[in-house]
Amino acid sequence: MTNRSPILSLRGIQKSYGPIKVLHGVDLDIYPGEVVALLGENGAGKSTLSNIISGTVQPSAGDMTWLGKPYAPANPRAAIDEGVGMIHQELKLLPKLSIAENVFVGRYPMKSGRLDRKVMEERARVGLRRLGLDVPPDRLVEGLSTGKQQLIEIAKALTLNARLLILDEPTAALGGEETQLLFRQIERLKSEGVGIIYISHRLEEIRQITDRIVVMRDGAKVQEFDRGDVPVRTIVEAMVGRSLERMFPTLPVPTDEVTLEVRGLSAPSKAFRDISFSVRKGEVFGIAGLMGAGRTELVRAITGADPIASGEVLLHGRPVTPRSPTDAIRNGIVLVPEDRKLQGVVLDHSIAENIGYANLGEVAHNGWLSSRRIREFAEDYIKRFGVKGRGGQNAGELSGGNQQKVVLAKWLARKPQVVVLDEPTRGIDVGARSSIYDLIMDLAREGVAVIVVSSDLEEVLGVSSRIMVMAQGKQAGILNREDANDVSVMELATI
């Protein structure tokens, strides 16, 4: 592999924002037909580096060579024209336009000055089929699952005939089957000689598909492995720069007292049907399943965020089936939602305000409150949860892990009885995850009934004393910790 010449070479790439240096001279070579994993915690410089390659950001110093020629893209357009395809972590699709229009946005095929819809849709269909996606190209993007949208993003890059593809967390929203589909495509692209930079927090899949691993920390390349199947622990230790004792904490022993009971719950949309389970005081109850199995819909219904068609929710044997989030919160059932940025925090408001919003009633005296009182209230929780930030700082400036702590803090101030966490560590650094797990265990130890929904199998297995597996909206089974492993869970999930 190394006897061939690289597609892209980076030498001494530096980037500074004012006095803050975020990249300290990075060297990197990408060869044709290889998948290079770029790993590191948030803030390690992965995104900056990929943004420099894709022309979104200009380096402060250093040289890049593309196919033997000097390369300095002034904007994303220039990089795309050279053959660099970048797939961003956050989806950048236009929901009200058709799939085909999204794939060809800005470079529509024209015929005598008019948009040639037929050619466009035909070419989009070919691109979709390459990814094994069976959706009509004239369908609107709106309403497609996140997984499918991600594949459309990839189809979009593929129709550009990219020589180098940068995938930023491509599987964050994908289910197991869709992930495998993506991996098959990556294999095929490799055999076509495309170079791929693969950024992900899911270390298991890195082992599966990458040829080389580059680990970054604090803006510098700290380690490089010439193979993909490096033990996860070794990678993580390189990422965090210290040795890890453990990833998952020990589970507390739940009591026999049932806190929450769900009986025959169904959604009006049929996203989930006839679900029954109970969670004991001090227990962590995991919910696993593939994308679209109805997990998120189920927990949103339990917490009053989405409507319930039939069935009931009981708290200590008392029916409390919620009609609104306010209802559920009053009964001490709270949700830490899946999408922090859209549902968890107001990004351009301060940490203190974010914590305050769920607790204004408590902070206020006879309805009167002040910024100072909100801040004093929040400051206490900021300290207790080890949020790295000050109360006056905007939530948007925090890392994902710290944002998640803010969401947790705002609920824990209310002393809830049931805490539901939907994908609690999605997009959060490996290093920061264990502190979220610690918080979850602390909750259980204090006697809270905890429900954790996660697509990360390792995570559900690591934190739950029992796991309910869902498949296509139905409960496929509940496994005890002793019987649960990746095989038994996947068997139930794919029923």
Partner: protein, 324 residues
């Protein structure tokens, strides 16, 4: 942003944070006043200052309600028409039907508030976008206002009513200016120190986060539109007192002036940031600007151009400052 991490005490602790995000407009207002002080010999006098206050009463009262609406990410295009309707209801009840003012004014305010209730319910229950719902209300209320007298004006209010806008108590405040100042203070305190006021920021910042945090977003939204319409009605009472007459064509395009004042004051149209403090400065900028341009004998048409330019300047300056 860094500055508000520090604890503030006393006067500065109350007033300065209210102007957060409005420091740019405040500087603009000061520069404008300095310029006019040197450019005209009539600007810097107590008399002229009181004139400016008299002239901004209608806009000031209306803009407070508009600030709440824009703060939650909404818009209310109906306020000008609602104001006209409230004025016509007042005129009809008092002059034509002979109802005493003490009853006619509350009923006129009630009529105005009902418009906000309808708009709020359209927005929350039927998911009509705020722009459309209030555009429709704008047309409906204007029509209703015209129907009351078939487009005619009404005169003949009791003499004391007009005196509210003329007599300066203590040689200083007319009652109409006092009404505006009370609305400013109550609005400012509500927005900063009341549970219900802080909730508006959460809704404007992200309505889904607010809903999941257990805030009753629908109820708060309806209330905001009711309050906005109520204040539009109140500004109608102020205008009726100033004019000593009411006519159904009053307040055309006032909603745009109110929106301009809010935006100049630094409240973002997408909601969640800004507040009454900025709006007061925005209202003062528009008032001082109009007053100054009149003193400089600038034509009314040119004044429109200049006010448009000031809106652009204020908003781009704010955007630029944020990016830095």
């Amino acid at each position: 942003m860094v500055a508000d991490v520090k604890e503030r005490q006393g006067f500065a602790g109350v007033v300065l944070p209210s102007l957060r995000g409005a420091t740019g407009p405040l500087i603009g207002l000061i520069v404008l006043c300095l310029f006019l002080t040197f450019a005209t010999d009539k600007f810097l006098s107590v008399r002229n200052f009181l004139n400016v206050l008299d002239q901004i009463t209608v806009l000031g009262v209306m803009a407070v309600g508009m600030t709440f609406v824009i703060l939650i990410g909404g818009i209310d295009l109906a306020v000008g028409s609602v104001m006209a309707l409230a004025m016509m209801v007042l005129g009809y009840l008092n002059v034509v039907a002979g109802v005493p003012m003490g009853i006619a004014i509350p009923l006129a305010l009630l009529a105005a508030s009902l418009n906000g209730l309808v708009a709020g319910l359209l927005i929350t229950r039927f998911n009509v976008p705020a722009f459309i719902a209030t555009l429709a209300m704008m047309s409906i209320t204007r029509g209703l206002a015209n129907m009351i007298t078939d487009g005619q004006q009404i005169i003949g209010f009791p003499a004391w009513f007009n005196m509210m806008a003329i007599v300066r108590f203590g040689g200083f405040l007319t009652l109409t200016v006092a009404v505006m100042i009370v609305v400013f203070i109550v609005g400012l305190l509500y927005q900063r120190y009341r549970h219900g006021g802080r909730v508006l920021y959460a809704i404007g910042g992200n309505a889904e986060v607010a809903r999941l945090a257990g805030i009753n977003v629908q109820r708060a939204t309806v209330l905001v539109y009711v309050v906005c319409s109520f204040l539009a009605g109140l500004s109608g009472m102020v205008l009726a007192a100033r004019l000593d007459s009411v006519q159904p064509s009053s307040g055309v395009s006032y909603e745009l002036d109110a929106i301009a004042a809010v935006v100049i004051g630094g409240t973002s149209l997408s909601g969640g940031t800004g507040g009454i403090g900025g709006t007061i400065i925005g209202v003062l900028i528009i008032g001082v600007l109009r007053n100054g341009l009149n003193l400089l004998s600038v034509s009314p048409f040119m004044q429109q151009v200049i006010i448009g330019a000031v809106i652009v300047l204020a908003v781009t300056a704010e955007t630029y400052r944020k990016r830095k």
